[in-house]
């Protein structure tokens, strides 16, 4: 399943960090952050609990980039 989320982040490097952070979460097949469009496109593994996974993603992203926001 694919989903797209609006995000808030200040710099391109931070967006890259968010991307690798999101990709390290279980249940995510592939995540890509488009800094210019301020979007995070996420492809979930099958049977993944989207809400729980995205909560993890946000937590991990906050860790690498405290200023970021994902509108889940």
């Amino acid at each position: 399943m694919k989903k797209s989320y609006k995000i808030e982040v200040d710099c391109a490097n931070c967006a890259n960090k968010m991307e690798s952070a999101a990709n390290s979460i279980d249940g995510i097949k592939n995540a890509s952050v488009n800094f210019m469009a301020l979007k995070m496109n996420v492809e979930f593994e099958e049977n993944a609990d989207v809400k729980a996974v995205m909560k993890e993603v946000l937590k991990k992203c906050r860790k690498v980039e405290p200023d970021c926001e994902i509108y889940i």
Partner: protein
């Protein structure tokens, strides 16, 4: 400016004022060191508290070597060495640079979204005799929506009531108004310019043209180019490398000096190491490269060229071979009268006879002759129409016997016909049993086709190849007319794949092969080519789906335009990479030798970034 940006601006102004006061008081009053330190600390903390905080949090979370960490270490180091004003100034300029970058990125983001501003916010529907505005997502297939003059069409559909003129510029980049009437299919994203129309929707909002296109542009970031990947990797190794070099500069050099019996000069070397840290931030690259690609994709989008990812920009810029389909790509794909030959009577008269005689026929060729006649048909002038299958039509036009058809018909009526040398379908006309000439009907070449191929050559394409299923005569004639280098005719779909494979093998490494087709019959070849371009894609979901680059209208000039856009984009990317890395390396070398001080370091960091960002934005204007 956003609230965050405004707050930063206020902090910058406050810190700059205080810092200036510090500098003045330091020189005039000659305050004791401790007082001076306390004074300078105020602007430093005002401007840098968030950086320090982020750096601290970064260390706690195991994220060292980001730019906050670098700035924090560099400035704290400078303060320890007693360079209070330098430390505050470095922080101040860093924040100015960040603010500028954030504004520039915000502006180009807005520019690009304005270019792509085709997403309709609402749809009007009639409920209980009243027109109300609803979320387009809620409109079901088959509902009737109302679009007033000046509004965007929110959802694809068919006009059920009313006539109007549409502006398709947002989708195709061409502002040629298109007249539509009841029964016509319309696409979302077009602007209704004149009348009120009612549309019976045929798609959901999410599946409509406008939504599809936006989705495509927004997802274009998923397919990253090699340059972007290179930068990500570069940044990963570069920053730690610079940090360790700085450490070596601060520790090893003085130790080496001590061992060799010279004065270690700790302060000097630590200061140089700190300068290193300020220079080292890879921001200029990390931001400007994706920004360039995004601006390029946005700029192309405004011209009706949708590029599905920055990797395609990269490949497109290396195009050396362009293979294309004939029908619909270089020709209009509709039959038109392309000539009248061997006529014994006036050309207009000949067409008039043919048009009148064929007035009752629905055959595409009859339609094209009527199209060439251009005037409305007065059917009272025609009588006794007799159609002979496989031959043509005989009729009485203005009381004269007219025969319009092929060679067989001419033989039957006893007219001495002359064969046609042109490519296409020949329609012979005999009037009163005498041969009057023939009309050549063919699929006409697009006006821009010749220029388009010439432009491709100018853009550095080595070979243009036409692939077609048509017979040799027609294919060669078209190829010659448009100036294609090679032509392959009488091809079955499988043959097209084989020929494309052959060219793929022939091309050298680092060269790209582009296939251009209408996206419907050519899907296998489009996906086989390095870059598949689908043309005339407006309204064809299959084409939008299959291709890597989508041309919304059917102008062949857009092929060379998209190559040019990609070239410009790549040039800017390389300029930025070389410029940013170059300046940084020079400044690093000068910093190590002690020629460049903190101020030069600030330029190498913030100045380079600003210039690179400004350069990137050029890609927007294709």
């Amino acid at each position: 400016m956003t609230r965050k940006q405004k707050r930063t601006l206020v902090r910058i102004i406050a810190a700059a004022g205080l810092l200036a006061a510090c500098l003045i008081s330091e020189h005039i009053f000659k305050l004791p060191r401790a007082v001076n330190f306390a004074f300078c600390l105020v602007p430093y903390l005002i401007i840098g508290y968030d950086i320090l905080l982020k750096a601290f949090r970064g260390i706690v979370n195991g994220q060292v070597f980001d730019e906050n960490f670098l700035m924090a270490v560099a400035t704290i180091g400078a303060i320890i060495l007693g360079e209070y004003t330098e430390a505050s100034a470095v922080m101040l300029f860093y924040q100015i640079g960040e603010l500028f970058q954030s504004c520039a990125v915000g502006k180009s983001r807005r520019n690009i979204s304005a270019l792509m501003d085709i997403r309709p916010d609402s749809a009007n529907i009639e409920r209980d005799g009243e027109i109300i505005s609803v979320d387009p997502d809620e409109v079901e297939i088959g509902s009737e929506i109302i679009v007033r003059a000046g509004e965007k069409i929110p959802i694809d559909g068919v006009i059920s009531n009313g006539t109007s003129t549409l502006d398709t510029a947002a989708l195709t980049g061409e502002s040629i108004p298109k007249d539509v009437e009841e029964g016509d299919e319309v696409h979302s994203g077009c602007i209704n310019m004149t009348g009120l129309i009612k549309i019976r929707t045929t798609k959901e909002f999410g599946e409509s043209t406008a939504s599809k296109i936006l989705e495509l542009v927004e997802n274009s970031g998923e397919k990253k180019s090699k340059s972007e990947n290179f930068i990500s990797k570069f940044a990963k190794y570069y920053t730690p490398a610079v940090c360790f070099t700085a450490l070596a500069l601060a520790l090893l050099v003085p130790i080496f000096m001590t061992i060799t019996g010279r004065s270690p000069e700790w302060g000097k070397w630590v200061m140089r190491a700190l300068t290193f840290l300020v220079i080292s931030c890879p921001c200029a690259l990390v931001i400007s490269i994706p920004l360039t690609f995004f601006a390029g994709i946005g700029g192309a989008g405004a011209n009706g060229i949708l590029i599905k990812g920055s990797n395609y920009i990269e490949t497109l810029s290396k195009t050396k071979y362009v293979l294309f389909d004939k029908t619909g790509t270089m020709t209009k794909g509709v039959f038109e009268v392309s000539g009248v030959h061997h006529n014994t009577i006036d050309k207009e008269r000949l067409i008039e006879y043919a048009a009148l005689a064929e007035s009752g026929s629905n055959h595409p060729i009859a339609k094209s002759i009527r199209g060439a006649y251009g005037m409305s048909i007065d059917e009272t002038r025609v009588s006794g129409v007799k159609e002979t299958a496989g031959q043509g039509v005989t009729a009485l036009v203005d009381g004269c016997e007219a025969a319009v058809g092929n060679e067989k018909l001419m033989e039957n009526v006893g007219a001495d016909y002359k064969p046609c040398s042109g490519a296409g379908t020949t329609v012979h006309v005999a009037v009163g049993g005498e041969y009057a000439g023939h009309i050549l009907v063919s699929d006409t070449v697009k006006n821009e086709a010749f220029t388009a191929l010439r432009e491709l050559k100018k853009a550095g394409v080595r070979k243009t190849v036409m692939l077609t299923g048509d017979g040799e005569k027609t294919a060669k004639a078209v190829a010659e007319q448009i100036g294609a280098d090679e032509v392959f005719c009488s091809l079955l779909p499988d043959d097209k794949v084989k020929i494309t494979e052959k060219f793929l093998k022939e091309k050298k490494r680092g060269e790209a092969l582009v296939f251009v087709g209408d996206g419907l019959n050519d899907a296998p070849v489009i996906s086989l080519a390095d870059v598949g371009i689908a043309m005339g894609a407006l309204g064809s979901d299959a084409a939008i789906e299959a291709a890597d680059v989508v041309l919304m209208d059917d102008d062949p000039l857009k092929i060379s335009q998209s190559i040019k856009i990609s070239r410009k984009c790549m040039r800017i990317v390389y300029e930025n990479i070389i410029f940013a890395i170059g300046v940084k390396l020079v400044c690093l070398a000068m910093g190590a030798l002690g020629i460049a001080d903190m101020w030069a370091a600030i330029f190498a960091d913030v100045g380079v970034m600003i210039i690179a960002v400004l350069n990137s934005i050029r890609a927007l204007h294709a």
